[in-house]
């Protein structure tokens, strides 16, 4: 073998370029048949569905435009006094900020997040009232790459079993049922003491052979039950047989894994979605990652390019010191940025986030001069009101 000592990268590059082609020996038709069968592409019914799905983006876009047009009016109405003061001379602006802050501090801080309007439009859920319960669900994105966590705020008391067993109803109420929920037809029974959930699956339940669906199935269970402290799922069928979980094989139970570390990004301008990170991926890089878009999968960045932070940790508090030159404004773009930062911090186990040197008192519902608690959930939907 030639000696590589003292050689540069060129030799390695040449070796890589000489690597042989590893040919796929499968028949083309066979691959098509399998892929089409898996996706039910041969089913005529799918044509009707695809017609609808072609209109769905148009409707969603129309709704988004409506919201985008509406939001500046909402912000202007609520903050016109504050923003106009900031635009004036600095001493006047400071007085206005102080006055505003004092007014807000006098109010019950939590009350800022309890308005129903917030829950129906917000990306995150901050507080749960005494007469409400929260359950969680998740649906895969259109291309099956990411899992979209959903938080349902149910205006009724009841045990968790009953609420989870109504999940299909809640999903249907918000037209989420068509989105290939992986636990379709399941019923649940939660044992609070043992921290287990018994999941009864339909007899014909199948995940197919794909490893991605199996991975998402496992993640869906985590999203749904880890927040309740559940540590194990036990599977049952009506006929008492074990469940075939595709690549996992036949399983009787599965541990519920804690929430994965993730960078939250915006999916189709509608949902905050966790983009999973490796367990050793540092929080400052996870925050930096939020600046990256992935347009092929409809993911947009949640931290604008012009925004920079120096990131430190203070026990359970994440501290973001603003080091960018751009002046932050009270608008939806920055409000979503804070939502996404809070969720990212939550996935890393932080309990609150503090913004230093940010030079603005309020963005959306957030008062930035005090630490902000991480949210209770993401992508909230209210049920029963």
């Amino acid at each position: 073998m030639k000696s590589r000592k003292g050689n540069d990268e060129k030799e390695i590059i040449q070796l890589l370029q000489q690597m042989p082609r590893l040919e796929d020996r499968q028949e083309k038709y066979q691959i098509y048949k399998q892929s089409a069968l898996e996706d039910n592409m041969t089913d005529l019914a799918s044509h009707d569905r695809s017609k609808f799905s072609r209109f769905a983006p148009v409707l969603a876009t129309a709704a988004a435009i409506f919201i985008i047009v509406l939001i500046p009016f909402v912000y202007n109405l609520s903050d016109s006094h504050f923003t106009s003061e900031v635009a004036n001379d600095s001493s006047g602006a400071m007085e206005a900020q102080d006055e505003q802050l004092t007014m807000i501090e006098d109010e019950n801080y939590d009350a800022l997040f309890t308005a129903e309007a917030d829950k129906s439009h917000a990306y995150v859920l901050h507080t749960v009232n005494d007469d409400e319960n929260v359950i969680f669900g998740a649906i895969p994105d259109e291309q099956g790459q990411y899992l979209i966590p959903i938080t349902f705020v149910v205006s009724a008391k009841g045990n968790l079993d009953e609420l989870y067993n109504k999940l299909p109803e809640y999903m249907e109420e918000h037209e989420l049922a068509d989105n290939d929920f992986l636990l379709q037809g399941a019923t649940y029974s939660i044992d609070d003491e043992k921290k287990i959930v018994k999941v009864q699956l339909p007899q014909d339940f199948s995940l197919g052979e794909g490893s991605v669906r199996a991975y998402q199935f496992e993640k869906t269970l985590s999203v749904m039950f880890a927040p309740h402290g559940i540590t194990k799922a036990v599977f049952e069928t009506a006929d008492g047989n074990t469940i075939d979980l595709g690549p996992f094989g036949k399983m009787e139970e599965m541990p519920i894994l804690p929430e994965e570390r993730a960078s939250y990004k915006l999916y189709k301008e509608r949902y905050l979605v966790p983009v999973p990170q490796q367990p050793d991926f540092p929080i400052d890089e996870a925050i930096l990652e939020m600046k990256e878009e992935d347009t092929a999968f409809h993911l947009t960045n949640t931290i604008p390019e012009e925004i920079n932070f120096r990131i430190t940790e203070d026990e359970k508090e994440l501290v973001l010191e603003y080091t960018g030159k751009a002046i932050l404004e009270n608008n939806e773009k920055y409000s979503v940025m804070i939502d996404a930062i809070l969720m990212t911090a939550k996935s890393y186990g932080f309990e609150s986030v503090r913004f230093d040197n940010i030079k603005i008192v309020r963005i959306g519902n957030y008062i930035l001069e005090q630490p902000i608690k991480v949210p209770e959930g993401v992508n909230p939907y209210t049920i029963g009101k």
Binding site: I12, L16, P20, L22, S35, Q143, S211, V212
Partner: protein, 185 residues
């Protein structure tokens, strides 16, 4: 849909397979994963807006499917290690993948490069495969991996450095580590 599949298959299939196969190094797994790529592609073809090129879109899907497979493997390893209470991670499942024929018949250096690609991180491996084995441009690689151009360059440099380090170490040891492993196969 068959027409779409035919065109995509004829244009990209062998490169897609090559990409997945060099990452997972197991023919059966690569065959499963490429099928998953087509399922996703066929499912979302009509919603693809052409914001990136068709080629980089396809490879992005292949990257996601492959990375997801690794994540599911990691979780499975974690579960096995918890079950058996083995303390050291990485020692759980031995590397028992057989060498593909096309590699087995190559000279010693090529076999070692193939072997030591495993020592690179999965991002480094993806960059090296896309850039040098598949001859993709930096721009295309950046789009597929959702990296900035500078991140591709840094990852590429680190990957090459890593590979060189292991090849050098192997050379100094007289290629023992590798030869023993290859001998077992």
């Amino acid at each position: 849909m068959k027409t779409v599949f035919d065109r995509l298959y004829d244009t990209y299939h062998q490169d897609l397979f090559q990409f997945i196969m060099y990452i997972v190094k197991d023919r059966t797994i690569a065959e499963d994963l490429i099928q998953e790529v087509y399922i996703k592609v066929l499912k979302s073809y009509y919603t693809f807006k052409g914001e990136s090129s068709e080629k980089t879109w396809l490879f992005s899907i292949a990257r996601h499917v492959t990375y997801d497979y690794f994540r599911s493997q990691q979780r499975m390893k974690k579960r096995i290690s918890q079950f058996f209470d083995w303390s050291e991670k990485g020692e759980i499942i031995p590397d028992n993948k057989s060498l593909p024929e096309e590699i087995a018949i190559q000279n010693d250096e090529i076999r070692r490069v193939y072997h030591y690609l495993d020592k690179c991180t999965k991002d480094q491996r993806s960059v090296l495969i896309l850039r040098y084995i598949l001859s993709f441009s930096i721009q295309e690689t950046a789009e597929i991996l959702n990296f900035s151009i500078s991140k591709v360059k840094t990852t590429q440099h680190r990957g090459l450095k890593n590979l060189r380090k292991y090849l050098l170490e192997d050379e100094e040891k007289g290629g023992t580590e590798n030869e023993v492993k290859e001998g077992k196969r």
